[in-house]
């Protein structure tokens, strides 16, 4: 999130799209309610009428996988009706910047497309710079090649008629949503958007969010109280996991993962974002300091100037390698791995095309399954369709402690690092994950000391000293993440003050690239300082009255509660929204008052620094070079869709997605055998694949078995009565479920034809309860967004038929 949960209450309009906040983030709904109590309008846009819709002031239905069409229409509406925040757009976005003359868009393809590679050469998407390397600008926004005019041209195609034809949203509902939301373009009005997997799990997932970012930039809703782009994260600590570099393409703090072509630290540092514009802070220019400090954190005294601080010991990705989930399991399926740790996850149920995942697990020699409860992954070898005697995989099950049985921090969607204390001991042999990891790696190191292992330097040189009196100490890890001064510094370049060796750095501005500082994760620097553990704070002071609570836990970066907050003020540093002043320049004392500003520089004025300090040009990207599938979001159909032709262009699907082919990877589009759009989701009563919730009798009582929701119209068409057993099938797999025939789902009219939607929760698995049903991911395809490879679990094609019970049917499980 750019903002945080409590900040929802500051909004005038809240748009919940691509998520079902009342059911899946129920506690956060109290802040939505708080906004509504003050007169805010709450909008829900979703394929289904859910408990969120039931509480919405405006509900609009759209076909799964058509969000860009919906939002593209909103962009056109804003531009056609001059609803954008002109000051903001001109000063704080790249609307005035000039595109390369070779940039173009024709019939669904941007310039630079190579059909053989299914990829773009992005050179023509670069923005033009003058002879000094400073972006060219047209502040009148009239130039044909300026971003604003290109935006206008691109979205002029998204007429109400076309949007309705694609999305199935009635035009009057579209207008209602557009009118209500776009009213927040007025200065002094705040609109926020809350999204989740309903936006990300598509082959255009990132572009769904980009489309909304464009809208928020046009309406001046970024960097303000009650605004922003707010991802409701699906797991309590998933924000923390990406922050701490759990994904393949990033190290901690979103530093890019090294690749083979960057053999030295110098090569790596050459890729540091640069800007010649003195008005652009380009904070990423500091990246070399963060990398060196990370290497010092990893390798301690072993990292020296002589050995490039051990950069060579970091694993390198192949030049263009994508080692994301779908590719990993594809490789596992092909036998590329011998071992696998399934740690706190249940891929046999959570992985797209779960049948393929389960088969892949059988190709392993060993698997370690670390979890609170037994699950379908650990027991895959005796699951449906498996012959245990023919499976070689040896499975080790390690029980771990639950959140309340260990100390540590979690980072919530609002970037708050919150310390939690242990309340009770874990049962039996269960241990905290961190202790398991700590001991495991010590054993690995011991083995390496005994005999020759592959690539010993990284293993043997890793500093692994997070213990006190022989016991693992989580505080030492937290301090390591914050970072230390490793030498006495007589006069620090930042503030000319002295700092002592072994003390914690006050924040990342003190990090150096010469090896005199360490830091496990630069964005978390300032979380655990000589002043104490900031994440453990629980003070309820709120000087701004905006619910920032700066002394409650700690937010990255540097306790900033709303990112890009310099965009909330005018050129003189005065709040543009008088009712919700997030930041204010105190002219007398020459300092900022309010939230922690994005950098201490004085107000922008006419020559000062631009507000979006993490962007190379210092401004919000309406035109966004960088994504694999284009600088503007464009509507493409899901890989499996109900219509032959994309109404917007000749490109039916996203032209750069990677197609997995053969074996379990089969797809069916416009196939009469699979005529219905299918989507997957969660319910309040269960958690992810249900590992934590299916074993709880009270929760399994509330949602006891897998169901398939469908409209009354579809029920009639298929002769399915509410409560009857049905069979749901896709090209990949099939699943039995109980039909919930409901008036909350409705058929869509798409390009003149009736399109039905069905939906299933993905919480169930064959292991427990015995008759609960299996995972909805047996149905989903192996296909991902080209930028993130997140699977398209929200829109695919399926069939549903009434299940005629066989006489004397027995469960056929081994």
């Amino acid at each position: 999130m750019t903002n945080h949960y409590i900040d929802f209450r500051n909004a005038d309009v809240i748009l919940n799209m691509g998520s079902n906040v009342a059911e899946n983030h129920p506690v956060s709904f109290k802040w939505i309610q708080a906004a509504r109590n003050k007169g805010a309008t709450f909008i829900h846009v979703d394929p289904r009428f859910t408990r969120t819709s039931a509480k919405a002031d405006i509900f609009a239905r759209l076909r799964s996988g058509t969000d860009i069409a919906f939002l593209g229409g909103m962009i056109k509406y804003i531009l056609d009706n001059n609803l954008y925040d002109e000051f903001y757009v001109k000063n704080y976005t790249n609307a005035s910047l000039i595109a390369n003359p070779k940039y173009g868009f024709d019939d669904g393809l941007f310039s630079g497309y190579d059909p053989n590679k299914r990829a773009y050469d992005q050179a023509t998407w670069a923005l033009e710079k003058d002879e000094n390397g400073i972006p060219k600008r047209d502040m009148t926004l009239q130039s044909e090649r300026c971003v604003f005019q290109l935006l206008k041209k691109h979205y002029s195609r998204y007429t109400m008629e076309k949007v309705t034809t694609i999305t199935g949203t009635p035009q009057e509902d579209l207008e209602k949503v557009y009118k209500a939301y776009c009213a927040t373009g007025a200065p002094g009005k705040a609109g926020t958007v809350l999204y989740a997997m309903g936006w990300t799990q598509h082959t255009v997932g990132v572009q769904n969010i980009r489309a909304m970012s464009i809208i928020q930039s046009l309406l001046g809703n970024m960097g303000i109280a009650g605004g922003g782009i707010n991802a409701l994260r699906g797991e309590s600590n998933v924000q923390g996991s990406t922050d701490q570099g759990l994904l393949f393409h990033i190290l901690t703090g979103y530093l890019p993962a090294p690749r083979a072509q960057w053999a030295t630290r110098e090569d790596y540092n050459k890729t540091t974002p640069s800007s010649k514009d003195p008005r652009s802070v380009n904070w990423w220019k500091n990246r070399p300091k963060y990398l060196t400090s990370l290497l010092k954190s990893h390798f301690g005294d072993k990292a020296t100037t002589a050995n490039d601080f051990g950069y060579a010991w970091l694993p390198k990705l192949d030049p263009t390698q994508d080692a994301s989930w779908l590719n990993l399991f594809d490789q596992m399926y092909k036998g590329a791995f011998t071992g696998f740790f399934a740690w706190g996850m249940n891929p046999a149920c959570s992985g797209a095309n779960a049948g393929k995942v389960r088969t892949a697990l059988a190709k392993l020699d060993w698997m370690v399954n670390v979890n609170l409860f037994d699950n379908e992954t650990g027991e895959f070898w005796k699951g449906p369709g498996m012959t245990p005697t023919k499976i070689k995989t040896e499975v080790f099950q390690l029980p771990c402690a639950a959140s309340i049985e260990k100390e540590g921090s979690i980072s919530n969607s609002g970037r708050w690092m919150q310390w939690r204390w242990k309340t009770t001991n874990p049962p039996g042999d269960a241990r905290p994950d961190s202790e398991i990891m700590y001991d495991l790696f010590r054993k690995v190191q011991a083995l390496y000391r005994k005999g020759k292992g592959a690539f010993p330097y990284a293993i043997l040189n890793l500093k692994w000293d997070y213990e006190t009196n022989g016991k693992f100490d989580i505080h030492k890890v937290a301090k390591e993440i914050n970072g230390y001064f490793l030498e006495d510094i007589l006069e620090h370049p930042f503030d000319k003050k002295p700092y002592k060796k072994g003390t914690l750095v006050p924040s990342f501005v003190y990090l150096l690239d010469d090896g005199r500082t360490s830091c496990g994760n630069w964005i978390y620097s300032a979380s655990y300082t000589e002043a104490g553990n900031m994440a453990a704070r629980r003070k309820k002071t709120d000087a701004t009255g905006l619910g920032l609570y700066p002394e409650w836990s700690w937010a990255w970066p540097v306790n900033r509660r709303i990112i890009y907050n310099r965009a909330s003020v005018d050129l003189d540093g005065q709040p543009r929204d008088i009712a919700r002043p997030l930041l204010k320049w105190d002219t007398g004392n020459k300092k900022w008052v309010g939230d922690i500003p994005d950098g201490p520089a004085p107000p922008m004025g006419t020559a000062g620094v631009y507000p979006f300090i993490m962007k190379p040009d210092g401004v919000a990207s309406i035109f966004g070079p960088g994504l694999k599938d284009g600088p503007f979001p464009e509507h493409y159909e899901p890989l499996e869709c109900p219509i032959e032709k994309n109404i917007m262009s000749s490109q039916r699907i996203n032209p750069v997605i990677k197609i997995f082919e053969g074996g379990p990877d089969t797809f069916a589009t416009c196939d009469p055998r699979y005529p219905f759009v299918c989507t997957t989701y969660r319910v309040t009563e269960h958690w992810q694949t249900g590992v934590l919730s299916r074993w709880l009798p009270w929760l399994i009582e509330a949602e006891p078995q897998i169901f398939c929701e469908m409209s009354q119209e579809l029920g009639k068409l298929r002769g399915i009565e509410n409560g009857e057993k049905v069979l749901v099938e896709t090209q990949r797999g099939k699943l039995e479920a109980t039909a919930i025939v409901t008036l909350r789902l409705k058929p869509f009219v798409i390009a003149g034809q009736t399109v039905h939607l069905i939906g299933l929760p993905w919480h169930f698995g064959w292991l427990h309860p015995k008759d609960g049903g299996d995972s909805a991911n047996l149905l989903t395809p192996t296909i991902g967004d080209p930028n993130t490879m997140i699977p398209e679990s929200k829109a695919f094609m399926a069939n549903v038929t009434k299940l005629i019970p066989k006489p004397a049917k027995k469960a056929g499980r081994a």
């Binding site: 319910v683 009270w698 009582e701 949602e703 009857e724 409705k746």
Partner: protein
Amino acid sequence: MNPGTKTVQRGTHQNPEDLSYVTYKLVRFSELEENGKPKWYFFADQCRHCITPPCKIMAESLHVKAITQDASTGAVLYNPKVKIKEKEFKRIRESCPWDIPRWDGKTQGMAKCTMCIDRIKEGMLPACVKTCPTGTMNFGDIDKMLEMAQKRLAEVKTAYPKAELTGVDFQRAIILFADDPKKYHKFASVADSTVVASMMGQTVLVG
């Protein structure tokens, strides 16, 4: 008692299906369509702890000694250890306008919401109020609760003109409905004024 092993999906999110001898409180879901638009109403159903409880009056008339009323809190309490016959239970259940009392064939006892009498006697909040993270439920002295309810009703009325409070004068569990209570559940409100009058004894119904 392990409820999870007993429930099955019957084509609804209303699980468990109904109140029972072990389920004292549940959210009732009601799907309906108005002017072609779906509506989904929810409310938490439970014993209203009537000021003059008809179930208690009925039980007394049947010489069943299972129902008492706590003097200090007004909580209406069933003693599940008192065995009663199914025929008598049915009359007690029918006497409740909200269809709350439940009976177990095995134990022959009756049960329902206890107002968490064990907790409130120790100065704690009822479990449902304590654990609700969104502040839907409140518990306290009647004057304070009524004031809160009236204030909230006035706020809600701007967006939901049909909103109403039920049981203000004769119950200890007051519910704010955003629409006609009948749309939520067939037993959600008492429409028959004679029932109300008889429940209230000497009290005069206002409004």
